[in-house]
Symmetry: C2
Subunit: 242 residues, 2 copies
């Protein structure tokens, strides 16, 4: 969202989050005044207020009239949307968050895939086949698979006929766009990914819950491990870069 177009507002959001982290502020701590922040960041008070409106809506900060701006949560305890924002802004996650995201994804996707097996319609299958085709095409010419991968996984989840589940998994997928992008640099991995996805569709078409959950578990787990290995090689380069 914000990553695409760099506005003063998104700058202010980023700088505010950086300020909070840099000064190691924790729950209840007070931030500088809007006027102060606008000076620090070199933007108008209006832009700062827009940023604070966003942080407020995300329950990261709380603006107390005539008093000040207070941190509502530890930055690490903020909502998923805030983590997605963090990823969008190019701020790194710590290793624990990364592990937790992977685990949560596996748990939720397993359940979603199970439901998808039970409820998938022919339309869902058609959609998946279509996505598989474009996926294969992208694998062939070596384009950016990251977005298409997300789309595919979410399409499978959508086959569960539970839209809340889709929305639940969306941020979990979006948070890992950073890894995903580097992950798909390898041609071998791209190929394997396509094979896995094909297996997904087969299992879902056959309504084979056991295989489906097994597949998703293995798929996400091995992907996470590969990414971890990549991260260790890649030394200190920040995760979640967009």
């Amino acid at each position: 969202m914000f990553a695409a177009v760099s506005t003063e507002t998104s700058d202010a959001v980023r700088k505010t989050l950086e300020f909070v982290r840099h000064h190691r502020l924790s729950k209840g701590d007070r931030l500088p005044s809007e006027r102060d922040l606008s000076e620090r960041f070199g933007v108008t008070r209006g832009s700062v207020r827009e940023a604070l409106a966003v942080l407020d809506a995300m329950r990261i900060t709380e603006r107390k009239p005539k008093s000040g701006i207070y941190l509502r949560n530890e930055l690490e305890d903020s909502g998923l949307d805030a983590l997605v924002l963090q990823a969008d802004l190019g701020l790194p996650f710590d290793a624990q968050v990364t592990r937790d995201v992977t685990e949560a994804r596996i748990l939720c996707e397993e359940q979603a895939f199970r439901l998808a097996c039970q409820r998938r319609t022919d339309a869902d299958l058609a959609k998946l086949d279509q996505l598989l085709d474009t996926y294969a095409a992208l694998v062939a010419n070596g384009s950016n698979l990251a977005d298409e991968d997300v789309a595919f996984h979410l399409a499978v989840v959508a086959a569960s006929q539970n839209r809340v589940l889709v929305r639940t998994l969306t941020p979990l997928m979006l948070m890992s766009t950073g890894w995903r992008r580097r992950y798909f640099a390898s041609a071998e991995i791209r190929q394997r990914s396509l094979i896995d996805h094909r297996a997904f569709v087969v299992a879902i078409e056959a309504r084979d819950e056991a295989t489906a959950t097994m597949l998703v578990h293995r798929h996400v787990q091995t992907a996470a491990e590969d990414v971890r290995a990549l991260a260790e090689q890649g030394a200190t380069d920040s995760d979640s870069k967009d």
Copy 2:
């Protein structure tokens, strides 16, 4: 968040969402200009811009410079945070969303409870016992159980040692604060809720995964059914009122 203090910004958010729904705008449609909206809503352009910053961050709208404001998603396809916001603002959900939330909660909480059985620490148990005490006290004097219920459930999830899972379930819990509030009006239900919660803790302490998942499934399911029954009796009063 916004429900507590009624600001011009939150008004603008609410009115914008109402505008979208009232005019049946769908993905890609263009909203009136900021200046126009500020006139309609009777607030400053600044307040409108704050509201749009929030809606932008939630991926509901997209502001294209020198062009206009466009709807990014159908209102029904927006993120979970947007649904929480919707609940906060007192806007109703449709029945499907309600069912989906319940199902998603059950799926995720079952998994979280399972992990909690495996990983709960003594500190977690202590925390749960403490929450159970305050819960019992509130049941006794008939106070508002809604918030405490959320806190308890999230504390159990937290015992899974997966903070992302907590953040995933938080919006699912928050979205149902409306029902919850009416739900706990019945003294019998309060009492039964306490018993259920006690059983949770016992199962988690014993690391009894099977019982724990069974309990949470039954707990949430029956609660959802009770709420549905209430809603049918309560005729057309809107859900999710805060």
